[in-house]
Amino acid sequence: MAPLKSLEQEYPILDSNFQSFCASHDIFSVEDLLLHDLYVLAAFAEQESSSERLKQGIAQVLSIIDGQHQPWLNGIELLEDAQRNKHVLSTGCEGIDLLLHGGLRVGQLTELVGPSSSGKTQVCLLAASNVAKKHIGSVVYLDTGNSFSPQRVTQFICQHSDPAIDQAKHRTLQKVMNNISCKSVFDIFTMFDVLHQLEFNLRSQMQGGDCKVQLLIVDSVSSMVTPILGGSGSQGHALMISAGYLLKKLAHEHNIAVLVTNHTVGGDGGISKPALGESWKSIPHVRLLLSCDHGGSICNVSILKHPSMVESFASLFTMCAIDLSLSLSLSVRPFYKLFLLHMVFLFLFTLFNFFSSGCW
């Protein structure tokens, strides 16, 4: 925290008298004040001539410190907040919605991981057009690879509407497309600036309304972090973690769902794993793995991490020209099939034993 003398401008009570008093006790910054025994300091302040002002100064510094952290909440308040604010945004693809029990949850950071051309950008575009179309709110799309395609978004929006009335459709299309704003960011510092600006804007117009931001998409966060990760210093690592925390803070405080994409790298034994390493693994709330058949149009989504579900369910969806439609329903992984089979055999065996012993 800042040295005490730099706080003087904002809080005139921390004047030079206060500073020299603190300096006499070896306190030069707010950190030093925290480490010091406050009762002892107050006792010393009593003995000084301007004891009232000094005690007010100490109280002021303590209130500055208090203002730095989030307010304490109890369970009831958290539950009310979750029920009132943290609803679920449909992604527009039934398969993914089914998998996520509704869709993207507001207040959580969802990550899409997958190899190249597995459909990550398509899911992002579909989610953006769906949220904008259902007038749920506006969408902010941060694009690092020039992959935001307005034509594709138009296709997604116009797929279900009546092709008859052209003029009205044109106007609704314009209204919906105006809800999606897209910015190209090409390095992590620009992204920090954009996110801080967004935070400032959201904080200053808390009343909501029609243009309230509901969905923030960053496509992709890995291409911004990879040039700085690794190497000699840990600066890149620190930037990546602070970016993750900033996204989660935005999501929680301003009731936004955040969707980011990540790519895969080769891991041990040739199995691909998500990029950005072990530290990034704990940052997203929900991690989904996308994979696509080579040359096919069937894509597979599975859960890698979820706060309330087991990572065993997978869902298949087809990517075609118009939309991402559900092709097959939930398929249980083979391990569970084997387990079920095993239980059935065990049951039959015990039955057999029972009857054979009963006959005796």
């Binding site: 925290m1 800042a2 040295p3 730099s6 401008q9 030069f28 950190e31 190899p115 190249s116 051309s117 575009l125 506006s138 902010v140 690092t144 690879g145 020039n146 992959s147 935001f148 307005p150 034509q151 594709r152 299309l173 314009q174 497309m177 105006n178 809800n179 999606i180 704003s181 897209c182 910015k183 090409f186 390095d187 510092f189 920090f192 600036d193 801080h196 600006q197 400032f200 804007n201 117009q205 309304g209 243009c211 309230k212 931001v213 992709s220 291409s223 990879t226 040039p227 990760l229 690794g230 190497g231 210093g233 600066q235 602070s242 790519h263 790298v265 080769g266 990029a275 080579h294 149009s297």
Partner: protein
């Protein structure tokens, strides 16, 4: 910590944090000399840090639109902007059809294939086609050709340029039989003059050149395509530190994306292939690994199918996966001469 997001060097940042300045407001009111004394750095460095901090601080306070960020465009505006930029034709109708008209500006397209499939030919063809005048449906721009392998042949470029002019005058003759004003004044030498050729011999030269392209293109504003042939060549051999290679490549990819977006030009990267062990068999994939495969907007793979050359769209945000045949003739890239002209949709 707020100072973590300032674009300053790591040593300056650690000195700031060690002196107790962790938020921007804590030192924004200080004078540069005061800061210099606290951090034990020169006055110039301190002034630089204050300038960067005040810039960030100013960005925070400026009001955007309703909940949007500064500099963001709405999707509606982008849709109309897209229609304004014509695409660069490849002179092969089938290929243009699957590409939605041609190579798109503002995007990075990666074209990869086995040796001898025609990547350099396609690169030279694009460098010439970008110069087609606006009257004939082209962009009328110049081209930058970055050659890393030494495979650019000037005689071949001259040949393709002459064929292109012939085609244009034929078209012009058919469409505008009467007007003299539209008579083609282009000479093959003019076309060759508008191709800026750079030869790079090592990866440091390549990275330095891409950093310099920003300045070069601001001076030559009518450059509309940058072709790198091939982008992987210098990164495949003699690289001991793979992590460094990944960082350099992703940094280079971001810079190329930024170039494409800021100057509204097309970037075409030609890539080589390598074999990869997937699902129990060896398959051909593009070189430079998984991280590089995310660094392009579109990807086209060229391959042999029997005796025919085919192009396949592997990755695109808005185009359907499809493949189309093409051929390399003495005039450049042209339609395949086979009987079956239907595009095979995947």
């Amino acid at each position: 910590m707020e100072v973590g997001r300032l674009p300053i060097s790591a040593s300056q940042r650690s000195k700031l944090i060690a002196a107790g300045y962790t938020t921007l407001s804590s030192f924004s009111s200080l004078s540069p000399s005061h800061l210099a004394r606290d951090l034990k750095i020169s006055d110039n460095e301190a002034a630089e840090i204050m300038r960067v901090a005040s810039h960030s601080h100013r960005l925070d306070g400026s009001a955007g639109g309703c909940g949007t960020v500064n500099g963001a465009q709405t999707a509606w505006d982008m849709l109309h902007e897209e229609e304004m930029f014509p695409r660069i034709t490849t002179s092969c109708e089938d290929l243009d059809n699957i590409l939605g008209g041609g190579i798109n500006c503002k995007e990075v397209t990666e074209i990869g294939g086995v040796p001898g499939i025609g990547k350099t030919q396609l690169g030279i063809q694009l460098a010439i086609n970008v110069q087609i005048p606006v009257d004939y449906g082209g962009l009328g721009g110049k081209a930058i050709y970055i050659d890393t392998e030494g495979s650019f042949m000037v005689e071949r470029a001259l040949q393709i340029a002459e064929a292109c002019i012939e085609d244009m005058s034929e078209c012009g003759g058919l469409l505008r039989k009467d007007s003299q004003a539209c008579q083609l004044k282009m000479h093959p030498n003019n076309i060759l003059e508008n191709i800026f050729y750079f030869r790079v011999c090592s990866y440091t030269e390549q990275i330095a050149l891409i950093n310099y392209l920003d300045k070069f293109i601001s001076e030559h504003k009518d450059v509309k395509i940058v072709i790198v042939d091939s982008v992987t060549f210098h990164f495949r051999q003699d690289f001991d530190d793979m992590a460094l290679r990944t960082r350099l490549l992703s940094g280079m990819a971001l810079k190329l994306m930024k170039l494409a977006k800021d100057f509204s030009l097309a970037v075409v990267l030609l890539n080589q292939v390598t074999t990869k062990y997937i699902d129990g068999s060896f398959q051909l994939t593009l070189a430079l690994g998984d991280s590089w495969s995310h660094s392009c907007t579109n990807r086209v793979i060229l391959y042999w199918n029997g005796n025919e050359r085919y192009a396949y769209i592997d990755k695109s945000p808005s185009l359907r996966s499809a493949s189309a045949p093409y051929s390399v003739t003495s005039k450049g890239i042209r339609n395949s001469a086979s009987n079956c002209k239907r595009i095979k949709m995947m």
